[in-house]
């Protein structure tokens, strides 16, 4: 009797358990499937990609090292904020070219298809570029390298990965970033080249700009200055015209400080996220001298150690183009120094961390056209990687501040047409002027509709 009772129960128990399990298992499976799609396959074993900051869009190596990046960012920002000054590697700066060539010859990396015993080169050696170029300019008077007195023909070069961002919202910020550059460049008569191709797989990451820049200099002799700008940098002063005349005797202009580069050998003594390079033999030469630490794999890894030993406050990570430039200038000042202009009278590059919280204050006290701490020409979101995988909340801060920077710059465009953003944090716009029947009598306060610096006397040919 009891046995029957228990026997019947057992079978019922089992059936009931099964019924419950079906639902449970179904839910679990659904959850996993959906989560996989949301968080990204990478987390589930499929090889993912790492973009070390938007500026490193070209970065193709399939691996992930978020901590390295984070470390880099934190170091950078803390240094730039506090200007901390503890030399942790005094006396270790005796590393020189020879050792780099040694590394090149030691190179046995599998990453590279070319003969590891042949030092990397950006292309065939060219030593008469100045002659070739000036001959071409004479033969092509319709493509002058100067479009006005002290107004060189400038090509702004930027770009991003041909792949959609891993963090999908990243593409929206790339879009805003190029819209921002289109606006500044239209106002200042600058042409834009937006790159989405990786021309040299070996020079992926921060190094991709080098082969690209060389290619563009050689293809466009009419271009006098090439302006490299990272995709995570935005123009925040639409009225500021670069003081070209100041650079008439310089070939390479970066934001930086002589003492920090030449004396302290500080790896953030200059920034390579926004710089001006004059077309000429000198440019080809410094690109050749800059490139050797770039090839990915063992060379870049080993060179990274060299740079960390040689430079002040540099965290441990593979060789980056900025450290390499500091190293090059610090170790070969006599060779390059006289043609390099380290600019800090205005923000050719401006670190976002020290600027974005001051926009309201700037609006309160100053006006566009100053370009410096009062109204920065460029706000550069160093270390923000909105295009990378969803990171910690710092990415959220980045996005919020990139919106503010965009709107801060965009307000200067909108004012020309009588509009402004409802607030620095708002996408929406509102009128600041009523329409008139005599639109040409209205002068936009910044005079950006028809600025003198853009005006060019054109005689129909």
């Amino acid at each position: 009797m009891i046995d029957d009772c228990l026997g019947a129960q057992r079978s019922r128990k089992i059936r009931r358990a099964l019924r419950h399990c079906k639902v449970t298992i179904f839910c679990l499976v659904l959850t996993v499937v959906v989560l996989r799609g949301t968080i990204g396959a990478g987390k589930f074993g499929t090889p993912g990609q790492d973009f070390a900051g938007i500026r490193d869009h070209f970065y193709y190596r399939k691996r992930a090292q978020p901590h390295r990046v984070l470390e880099e960012v934190q170091t950078t920002s803390s240094n730039e904020k506090t200007g901390a000054d503890t030399d942790t590697n005094s006396g270790t700066n005796n590393y020189n070219e020879f050792d780099i060539n040694k590394i090149l010859l030691d190179e046995k990396s599998d990453d590279s298809k070319r003969d590891p015993n042949v030092p990397y080169s950006l292309g065939p050696k060219i030593s008469d570029w100045d002659e070739q170029r000036s001959r071409w300019l004479k033969e092509n008077p319709n493509y002058p390298n100067f479009i006005g007195p002290n107004k060189p023909r400038v090509l702004l070069v930027t770009g991003s990965s041909p792949k959609p961002c891993e963090n999908p919202v990243g593409d929206h910020y790339l879009l805003k970033s190029i819209k921002n550059k289109i606006d500044y460049c239209r106002l200042h008569g600058i042409e834009i080249f937006y790159n989405m191709a990786l021309l040299d797989a070996e020079m992926a990451g921060f190094w991709a700009k080098l082969p690209l820049i060389r290619k563009l200099l050689l293809s466009h002799p009419e271009v006098e200055f090439l302006w490299w700008m990272d995709s995570d940098a935005m123009f925040t002063d639409m009225a500021f015209e670069v003081p070209w005349e100041r650079y008439k005797d310089s070939n390479f202009v970066m934001h930086g400080w002589n003492e920090m580069v030449y004396d302290q050998k500080n790896w953030i003594g200059l920034n390579t996220g926004s710089f001006l390079l004059r077309n000429g033999q000198w440019a080809l030469d410094i690109l050749d001298a800059w490139a050797p630490m770039g090839p990915k794999g063992k060379i870049r890894e080993e060179a990274g150690k060299v740079l960390t030993r040689a430079l002040k406050n540099r965290p441990v990570f593979e060789a980056d183009d900025q450290s390499a430039m500091v190293y090059l200038l610090a170790t070969q000042r006599e060779k390059w120094g006289d043609k390099v202009y380290l600019e800090n009278a205005y923000y050719l590059h401006g670190y976002w961390g020290i600027l974005v919280d001051r926009y309201e204050e700037m609006i309160e006290n100053y006006h566009p056209g100053l370009g410096d701490h009062r109204w920065p020409l460029v706000t550069h979101f160093v270390g923000c990687k909105p295009c990378g995988k969803f990171g910690d909340y710092s990415v959220e801060r980045c996005l919020k501040q990139m919106d503010r920077a965009f709107n801060f710059g965009d307000n200067q465009i909108l004012q020309m047409y009588g509009f402004t953003h409802k607030s620095l944090g708002s996408r929406r716009v509102k009128r600041v002027r009523n329409e008139t029947g005599n639109p040409l009598e209205v002068k936009d306060e910044l005079g950006l509709l028809h600025p003198a610096f853009k005006a060019v006397k054109v005689s129909s040919s």
Copy 2:
């Protein structure tokens, strides 16, 4: 005894049930939470937004009507493909301006803040724009409206929503689309204005371009031709220069056919996704005549019925700018016809459905610079809405084909520098030329590096 047995069972049953339920409920909750994030809140009651095609990025009204859009697309494509010719509304084309004004006066829509009894206007009436503008041009010789013989100063205007796309990959295609326009415009000496602001909430959606265009014409008297281009249109012939001389007596150039517009009153007799508008009084006048059907809410809805009755093959949906233009020209040919040039000798607008599958054939048999069916100037992804919510697989087809169109155009840019995409479907590029020590002796086969149509004689002022 049995009672005890059963009593004990009952309590055990309950405990067991509870244990099972916990897991099940947890999973269900997790699933819902994650699904909500993935599919988008819209599906769960939060108001979502509808973008009727990338071209309708400006579309802000919170509602969803995917079927309407789909219907529109299908009709469009089937018509453009088969050129189907069944007149379903003969004899109903006796609708005229008066009735539209009647609609305006009947307007009681809540959407609109302005007095519904005052017909909508793009701005204060201007009747002497030609005089104002020519005076300005005389006073500002450094901003000529012609930068060469038969070379007008052109401003290409496009744009997209200030908000990230609902379908995140959409922003990546907007980015590729503007990169594509930057390339064409750099080669052809055309400036770009990328709009991300909704200047007039009433004119959201396909109508947003009207207030924007008027504002730009009045702010830039130096611009001779404004070229509107939807964000879902891409240049696929980088070598084709618009035959400006052909339009010396025209003010408005659209892709279309006289018979389809003036005789058939077919709503796809022309396309307003890519057109040229000459700056002048005439432009302001036709914008004023074009705008009345635009204000969202009751006006646009009622006007939509008018247009569907009056035009051939038009599906039932609210008034769109294209149908309104067909209607305007068909009902007032004598007033506008002589200054409107309906171009079909090349693809100022090219419907993607009939082009994208022929790219390989074009590469096989033809070359850039033709602009027509052999090598289309523009491939326009009418009805694709990569920025909208994930749709049926047709969106997938759109994305794949947009990649192909982009690469097809991009190959003409890359060839200048000695590269090409590995295939029309591939983001990756490969070399097609070896580097040389005499880069200036290499001529890119299309002659796009320094094209005659861009060369301009500049005399330093």
